[in-house]
């Protein structure tokens, strides 16, 4: 197996773990509650590894992407509702990411106006139209690796390792009254953003684009373990930086620039520039991931031909879908709406889609008729059901917590 083959997993995980919403939300979680939410990232990482391994395995063995699985297991009507909700989440998230790329460019170059999100959408449309799928995952996967500067900053601040080890395990910090609500809101927010459904839509379709076969199951496993662990470690580094850099100064970061400033404190001016370049790549990757996920779902639900590995003339409806999503994202962001607000709302809406996305994956991966000898083993089966219960609890709690904390504000 060549190392370039794991770039699908790297790109997918960066889009989930360090997109614009997560960059800000994770730093905020660290600044507010110290290291004590690290366990939520750790648990979410195991969850997304378990489920993306399953959907990659289904893609390799049965050649079925997630939305075909959802339609088969849930029926056409429920499938339609899931498609509609996931489309709203994908489009809203894509809009937030396009807006995020525009903000990072502005911070990096000091230029830009209302037109910048439209220009970003245009450039992304051009890149996706000209690059074959392999090169899309390589370009955004490799470019996203510049986020490693956050690890360097993490090492430079000398984190408290014993506290870090302790808080990787589920723990309840000593909080009072309403702080518990905010803590619970952040737990649900972190778990659901780590397990955002567009990651599995994109990953399973990407596996099929890459032509995975049962002989590629090791590639699938390596992608999920290496890719998502990398994304998870980056998110943890940001949380620790938030705790150690912003926490003692009583700063509550809620802008994209704040995340770059996290790196600037230990590494200075060069650190800020490298952090902005890394963020640009990761957020642009997330924009591509969400736009393509939206187009995959559309084509797979309605039964149209799809795939960026096919010529544009063969997949007109599919290609029109991701182009329209990008254009819509650019237009919405040109109005000046706060992209972080949009992504945070879409994360909470995504929580409601999670059970309907993950249950069909779990049932299909456990189906002997479909998967033969590659069906779930006992450990995957148990982990799958445990995480399904966690997802359902998050789905039930999310609406209440959103209102009770005024969207995580109080």
């Amino acid at each position: 197996m060549k190392w370039l083959e794991i770039l699908l997993g790297v790109m997918t995980s960066l889009g989930g773990f360090v997109d614009i919403g997560e960059l800000v939300f994770t730093a905020q979680a660290g600044a507010t509650f110290g290291y004590s939410l690290l366990w939520a990232i750790a648990i979410g990482t195991v969850g997304i590894i378990v489920y993306s391994e399953m959907c990659g395995r289904i893609a390799a063995v049965a050649r079925q992407p997630v939305f075909v699985v959802i339609r088969q297991r849930m029926g056409k009507r429920v499938g339609f509702v899931v498609w509609l909700a996931s489309t709203i989440v994908n489009v809203a998230t894509c809009a937030g990411e396009v807006g995020g790329v525009a903000i990072v460019l502005k911070l990096l170059l000091g230029l830009g106006g209302w037109w910048l999100p439209l220009a970003v959408a245009g450039v992304l449309i051009f890149l996706i139209a000209v690059l074959p799928f392999k090169w899309i995952e390589r370009t955004f996967g490799l470019a996203g690796l510049t986020m490693i500067v956050f690890f360097v900053a993490f090492a430079a601040i000398h984190p408290e390792w014993h506290k870090l080890g302790r808080d990787m395990l589920p723990n309840l910090p000593s909080l009072s009254g309403h702080e518990w609500m905010l803590y619970a809101y952040m737990v649900v927010g972190i778990l659901s953003s780590v397990m955002m459904p567009y990651e599995v839509y994109f990953y399973s379709s990407g596996g099929i684009e890459d032509g995975w076969k049962p002989s590629d199951l090791k590639v699938n496993r390596a992608n999920t373990i290496v890719g998502f662990t990398l994304g998870s470690m980056l998110a943890m580094a940001i949380l620790v930086l938030g705790a150690d850099v912003f926490g003692p100064r009583a700063i509550d970061p809620d802008t994209v620039g704040s995340s770059a400033l996290l790196v600037g404190v230990p590494l200075g001016s060069t650190g800020v520039v490298l952090a902005l370049i890394g963020m640009l790549a990761a957020i642009a990757g997330a924009a591509v991931e969400t736009a393509l996920a939206g187009a995959y779902n559309f084509a797979q639900y309605f039964g149209f031909k799809w795939g960026r590995s096919r010529p544009l003339r063969e997949t007109k409806r599919f290609d029109a879908a991701w182009m329209v999503i990008f254009l819509f994202a650019g237009i919405v962001m040109a109005t000046g709406i706060d992209p972080i607000l949009i992504v945070e709302l879409s994360v909470m809406l995504a929580v409601l889609c999670l059970p309907f996305t993950y249950l069909p994956i779990l049932l299909s991966a456990d189906d002997t008729m479909l998967m033969g000898k590659h069906k779930n083993g006992p450990i995957t089966k148990v982990l799958g059901w445990v995480f399904f219960v966690i997802i359902c609890i998050c789905s039930l709690a999310a609406p209440y917590l959103l209102v009770a904390t005024d969207m995580g504000k109080y």
Binding site: K106, L107, L108, L109, G110, L111, S176, G177, H178, F246, R249, A250, I251, D252, P253, D254, T255, G257, S258, A260, L261, G264, V265, G268, S269, V272, V273, L276, L345, M348, L349, P399, L402, V403, D406, M407, K409, Y410
Partner: protein, 115 residues
């Protein structure tokens, strides 16, 4: 769900909301001071400073909505005046020392309103 949340964001502030707004302005002042003190690239300094000033403007608008409880009015008025004083300092970006006394006064209100 979203409409519920948005509805909760309008109208006069209760104690928790006022505390949240004061905490926000306090945090923005602290971040602005950190930004002014650190060696960062010029375009980043200029753009991020404006973003922080815009966020202070948003807080000023919310603080202008009034409070549900009359007992909170003096704290609201103080916080409003401090936020108004802070905004032009952050937007201009040339006097980090001017932020320090505002930060201290905001911290006092913050502590008093703490649940």
């Amino acid at each position: 769900m979203v409409l519920f949340a948005l509805a909760a964001c309008s109208g006069p502030l209760d104690r928790d909301q006022l505390h949240g707004e004061v905490e926000d302005v306090h945090a923005l002042a602290a971040e602005a001071r950190l930004l002014f003190e650190k060696d960062v690239p010029q375009p980043f300094f200029a753009v991020h400073r404006q973003m922080l000033a815009d966020k202070i403007d948003e807080a000023i608008e919310k603080l202008a909505r009034g409070v549900k409880d009359d007992d909170l009015e003096p704290d609201r008025q103080n916080a409003y005046a401090l936020a108004r004083a802070l905004e032009p300092i952050v937007r201009a970006g040339d006097d980090p020392d001017a932020i320090v006394p505002i930060e201290h006064l905001l911290a006092g209100i913050d502590t008093r309103l703490s649940p």
